[in-house]
């Protein structure tokens, strides 16, 4: 009797886990750091080395206003204002943004080259 109950419980737990893993998407890595685009860019402008220690190679979620959008093989969107800019590069070439739109994007930080560069980006739907 007891063994039967234990087997039942284990069976139910495994079924629930399988169903959950199928319905929930565990494939996408959560952003390690969430920061406004302008703040991220300011940190890089103030001290590139210390910003790199904090952000380089990490998945970062930035939010900000779209300054420009470039279509192409690897479309990229620039967020921020003034000289505080973050360039988010997408692999999916069907990506599209409008200037002035407020968006949240997560991507992998590659460093600073004219702008902070995030690669492998995904738009976060709110």
């Amino acid at each position: 009797m007891k063994i039967g109950k234990i087997v039942m419980v284990i069976a139910i737990i495994s079924i629930v886990t399988i169903v959950l893993s199928l319905t929930l998407d565990f494939g996408e890595a959560d952003a390690e750091i969430k920061v406004p685009a302008t703040e991220l860019a300011t940190e890089y402008l103030n001290n590139e080395d210390s910003a790199n220690q904090k952000y380089l190679g990490k998945i970062i979620e930035v939010s900000g206003e779209v300054q420009s959008f470039e279509e192409g093989e690897n479309p990229s969107v620039v967020l921020g204002s003034g000289s505080d800019l973050v360039r988010c590069i997408f692999k999916d070439n069907s990506t599209s943004f409008k200037v002035g739109q407020k968006v949240t994007i997560s991507g992998n930080c590659s460093g600073y080259l004219l702008e902070v560069v995030l690669e492998d980006c995904k738009q976060i739907k709110e």
Binding site: L56, G72, G111, L113
Partner: protein
């Protein structure tokens, strides 16, 4: 404050094209590729986000790229490249600063087929800087001025260490190819 910022951007947007057109050509999406042929496997990686600037007044060239923007077919290779060999956390950028010899702005405008110029400069990679002198070939592609260069670097010159057991996998010499595309108004 916000209004001031906007005004500045506006001014910048108006002035920038004049400034860049007259003096400097820039490419934000330069393509840099490296290729190495080792006994066990070929290693190839692409970076399509290199930044290149050419000063038309004196032929000065500057190229900068982020090491983490190099992408490999195999993600494991990319990981090893970043973590074990190029140490991109410590040395996130590679740069080339140099000058084109016998550079004349007029010669670029009158390219028929192609124009080959030699350059002389310094390549910084993995915290080491060496003198290099790559040739650059300029040619037209529609309204665009293209610049292509190809040269070989020895990884030992840049202090990239390969463990003995990996010697069959990693070549000592790497072929670097770079192509830049500059927008030109005048044809």
């Amino acid at each position: 404050m916000n209004w001031m910022n906007k005004k500045h951007i506006f001014l910048l947007l108006i002035l920038l094209p004049f400034a860049t057109q007259a003096q400097r050509l820039m490419d934000r999406h330069g393509k840099v590729k490296f290729f190495s042929e080792a006994p066990l496997e070929n290693i190839e990686a692409d970076n399509s986000q290199a930044l290149a600037a050419l000063d038309l007044s004196n032929g000065n060239v500057a190229v900068t790229m982020l090491m983490k923007s190099f992408h490999f077919d195999k993600s494991l290779m990319e990981e090893h490249f970043n973590e074990n060999y190029i140490e991109s956390d410590k040395f996130p950028k590679a740069t080339y600063k140099g000058v084109l010899k016998n550079f004349k702005k007029e010669n670029l405008n009158s390219i028929q087929d192609s124009l080959k110029l030699s350059s002389q400069g310094e390549l910084s990679l993995h915290g080491k800087t060496n003198k290099v002198s790559p040739d650059v070939v300029f040619y037209k592609n529609g309204n665009k001025l293209m610049a292509k260069t190809q040269f070989v670097i020895k990884i030992d010159d840049y202090d990239v260490k390969v463990p003995k057991m990996m010697i069959q996998n990693i070549a000592e010499e790497v072929l670097v190819t770079a192509i830049f595309s500059f927008e030109t108004e005048t044809n």
